[in-house]
């Protein structure tokens, strides 16, 4: 059980102008996170496989000036079981590749970050690196990727290339492989220096090959030579995110991520988790780097708190059982949620990633009620002040690890 820290470690409330900026994101999954969400009167269950649905939903999130959306994905049909398929016919089943949804919506948006989920256990780091780099190109610098491991046997059988061993070391191995994977995609993003393309008509050379780099990664699970076929994307390094519930995942976050989604139960546990992630960062030699923690919250929002509770009860009733989330469930008004988010921010989180129970209702409550409430408190941005996701998150554009001459961060593309 997480121990509350000494009160002396709790930062005193500061005036708005001195508070670090609050960051907000929304996690998108089908018709919303509640299994009965698709049956709500305003839901669009027949449109979940259409571009128009995702364009509308992400436009709504962008209306709320959110930092980014994440898009859930996996390499199997959705299931209420953690370990394999179910035989349900009363929940949303079937989905689209999250990276391609993000790419489809990128040209239609201008401010919001796009973070699709990618399973790293069965996919090729070379392909995913160029896919996310390309997402960054098509969104002019608003791409990220949430990496996820798969311990499911049914997903392994979809690829038929490896047997996942049973045993306690499996999760450790999967997360170690994920760390190697992120190392490879990051090296590939850096495998082209920003000014590698020279178009020198006099010598006939299109690129300066001294600025293209083999990454020569050799690890336990794969070797990748490089360089990428895709030039370094606008952000240099798109944002890498991971969801973490426990130590092995905190270690991955500390070593590899820019953004980590965590599931505190209250501000004390939030503080404890921050400590664990910071320790993991330090042991990975990244103590000085910004890693943002977002607290995940499952949200049922209405201007009247009773209504939100009634809605949750109705959804649970329709589903046949209460929905059990790995994240804390919040039921109440946008103003009450704003209080909770600010409380968690005080505990050291950068902000929250909200999982709307239903779409569009709870999403619109976020973009049209929660955000204006936070803006009235001078706690959230009034407009997008950066065109890149790293910019929104206050992350510098990183220097290229292979650059022979260090480029100052200010020299980054605007």
């Amino acid at each position: 059980m997480p121990l509350p820290r000494e009160s002396v470690l709790t930062p005193a409330p500061r005036p708005a102008s001195q508070r670090p900026p609050l960051h907000l994101a929304v996690a998108l999954d089908g018709a919303g996170w509640h299994p009965a969400a698709w049956r709500e009167p305003d839901a669009r269950p027949a449109d979940l496989l259409s571009a128009g649905y995702w364009a509308d939903v992400i436009a709504e999130a962008e209306r709320g000036l959110l930092d980014f959306v994440t898009i859930e994905d996996g390499l199997s049909l959705q299931s209420s079981e953690r370990r394999g398929p179910d035989q349900r016919t009363n929940q949303v089943r079937g989905r689209l590749d999250a990276t391609l949804i993000a790419a489809r919506v990128a040209p239609l948006t201008a401010g919001i970050g796009l973070i699709p989920t990618v399973t790293v256990t069965h996919t090729e780091p070379f392909h995913i690196s160029k896919a996310i780099a390309t997402l960054d190109w098509v969104s002019s610098g608003r791409a990220g990727v949430r990496v996820k491991v798969s311990a499911r046997r049914d997903e392994a059988a979809h690829f038929g290339r490896r047997a996942l061993p049973a045993g306690p070391e499996l999760m450790d191995d999967l997360f170690a492989e994920a760390a190697d994977y992120v190392e490879v995609i990051r090296r590939l993003w850096d495998s082209w220096e920003d000014d590698a393309e020279i178009r020198d008509v006099a010598t006939g050379r299109f690129v300066d090959t001294r600025k293209l780099h083999y990454i020569d990664f050799a690890g336990r699970w794969f070797s990748v030579k490089g360089p990428s076929i895709t030039p370094r994307p606008p952000q240099g390094q798109p944002v890498v995110a991971a969801l973490a519930h426990r130590d092995v995942a905190y270690q991955l976050a500390g070593r590899s991520a820019d953004v980590v989604f965590v599931t505190p139960r209250d501000s004390a546990s939030a503080r404890d988790i921050v400590g664990q992630v910071r320790a993991a960062q330090a042991s990975a030699g990244r103590a000085g780097q910004t890693v943002h923690l977002f607290g995940d919250l499952m949200v049922y929002l209405d201007l009247d708190a009773d209504r939100a509770a009634q809605r949750k009860a109705r959804l649970d009733d329709r589903a046949g059982q209460p929905y059990a989330s790995d994240a804390l469930t919040f039921t109440g008004t946008p103003a009450q949620l704003a209080d909770l988010i600010q409380d968690w921010q005080q505990a050291g989180l950068a902000g929250c990633r909200l999982r709307p129970a239903t779409i569009p209702h709870d999403l619109a409550q976020i973009s049209r009620a929660l955000v204006p409430d936070l803006q009235r408190r001078a706690a959230f941005r009034e407009k997008y002040r950066s065109h890149t996701l790293r910019g929104l998150l206050g992350l510098p554009r990183p220097a290229n690890r292979y650059a022979s001459i260090a480029v100052p961060e200010e020299a980054a593309r605007s």
Binding site: S76, D97, A106
Partner: protein, 457 residues
């Protein structure tokens, strides 16, 4: 009996990473920024083209142990860029090359099914297979595939992918909020496939897409490639430069379709072609020569010769005679990751042939390379080019062309503005899209779920 007038099919190849693309021209724009792709796609759609095509290569090419730097280098991820282009076009087909060696069917099937959904039925897949260990160095499995298994792998990959596409019938999603029935029955997407390449089973997670799966393209020219296309493909990319060669290829491939219970209309033959336009034919010929000089710079001429000679020829003068030494026999270690090298199956004979041509025409090395590497090209006034394209199609040398502009991204604009209206006036090219899917643009029948092949249950 008069033959019915055929409709021409046109597609646009986004300029690639080879010397056809003239990056040194002052009009040449970015090859990676989305604005270039959007411009190109919008032009193709404005001209009512059937589709846009994007090639792929999974390792940067090398020559003499160095990354090859004379052509455009760098390109986007195929699926990601096509999905983004679906947002800036409404009707244009979106075709891309995806390798069947360095991918797995489950992942590729979900990407193509997703692309087909997100584009409203406009996805197409050019199935290629590599076997080289050089490319394999970028992937988990490395270079695992023997060369002689490449079509076997491609065929099996495709069949497996279609088992996944067909694992959803298309009527299973009910999504009836009142009754709470989302799926008509439990377990859609079930599949099981076992053969010597793939042993996979489970449940596919992308419901049936508008076209039932992507349109299938194939580019091989060998006997095995033609047979593969006759059995599996909806369109074939060829590279036959004369009318007679085109007609022979056309007749050969169309003649094979009957063996697979298919009619000749079910496979379109679309050669790739470059073009140079000017107000008169004479001006166009002059301009075309300038373009060839840009495409084959002195350094490029040496590089091409090295690919045949399989040795460093940097000491030779591109404006002088061909090397008097013979090519280095054996595996080509000079140029790597370049498909064209495989065309020179007998380098010593190729060198002998080139020397004879150069001596006969009194050509320098560079002039020789300009001649022997020329591709199908339409050179002339818009009226002449429109007439030639139509002639080729009506004479059954092709069903249309995949046009390869040499300037990014504006190289298609002039063709769209000048040649397309003339084809439309002749009544051989659409003035509006009549359908919304790529299959409809190509006049292909609706794809029914394939019969389950052997090796499946």
């Amino acid at each position: 009996m008069t033959k019915p007038v055929k409709q021409v099919h046109l597609a646009a190849h986004f300029p690639g990473v080879n010397n056809t693309t003239v990056w040194s021209d002052p009009r040449a724009g970015s090859h990676i920024e989305f604005g270039s792709f959007a411009h190109f796609a919008r032009t193709a759609e404005r001209a009512k083209f059937d589709f846009l095509f994007l090639a792929e290569g999974l390792r940067l090419r090398e020559q003499n142990g160095e990354i090859y730097d004379l052509d455009v280098v760098g390109r986007p991820d195929t699926f990601t860029i096509l999905a983004a282009l679906a947002a800036v076009t409404d009707k244009l087909g979106l075709a891309g090359t995806i390798n069947s060696t360095f991918n797995e069917p489950y992942e590729v099937a979900r990407q193509f099914a997703s692309l087909d959904h997100l584009s409203g039925g406009r996805a197409a897949w050019n199935v290629v297979t590599s076997w080289d260990a050089f490319t394999g160095e970028n992937f988990r499995r490395g270079g695992f595939l023997p060369q002689d298994q490449r079509y076997d792998r491609a065929r099996t990959f495709l069949a497996t992918a279609f088992e996944l596409f067909d694992s959803w019938r298309g009527d299973q999603i009910v999504a009836d909020a009142a009754s709470g029935v989302f799926l008509r029955d439990a377990g859609p997407g079930r599949f099981a496939h076992a053969d010597r390449h793939f042993d996979i089973a489970g449940q596919f997670d992308v419901p049936r897409s508008p076209q039932g799966g992507p349109v299938i393209f194939q580019a091989g020219d060998s006997d095995e490639g033609r047979e593969f296309a006759a059995a599996e493909a909806d369109a074939i990319f060829s590279r036959h430069s004369t009318l007679a060669a085109g007609q022979a290829f056309y007749a050969d491939v169309k003649g094979r379709l009957g063996n697979y219970g298919r009619s000749p209309d079910e496979l379109k033959i679309l050669p790739a072609a470059t073009f140079v336009l000017a107000s008169t034919d004479a001006e166009a010929r002059e301009l075309a020569h300038e373009v060839r000089l840009q495409q084959v710079s002195p350094a490029t001429a040496i590089a091409f010769a090295e690919q045949v000679w399989n040795r460093d020829l940097s000491a030779y003068d591109p404006d002088g005679p061909l090397p008097d030494i013979d090519p280095d026999p054996g595996e080509n270690t000079t140029a790597r990751g370049r498909a064209s090298v495989r065309m020179y199956r007998d380098p010593i004979a190729t060198a002998r042939d080139w020397r004879a041509k150069a001596e006969a025409g009194n050509l320098s090395l560079r002039e020789l390379i300009i001649g022997v590497t020329a591709r199908q090209s339409f050179i002339g006034s818009p009226a002449a080019v429109a007439a030639t394209i139509n002639d080729y199609v009506q004479a059954d040398a092709s069903d249309g062309f995949i046009l390869v502009p040499h300037i990014t991204p504006g190289g298609l604009d002039e063709f769209a503005d000048t040649v397309v209206p003339l084809l439309q006036e002749r009544g051989v090219f659409r003035t509006e899209y009549s359908g919304s899917t790529l299959r409809e643009h190509l006049g292909l029948p609706r794809r029914a779920a394939r019969a389950r092949a052997g090796g499946t249950s």
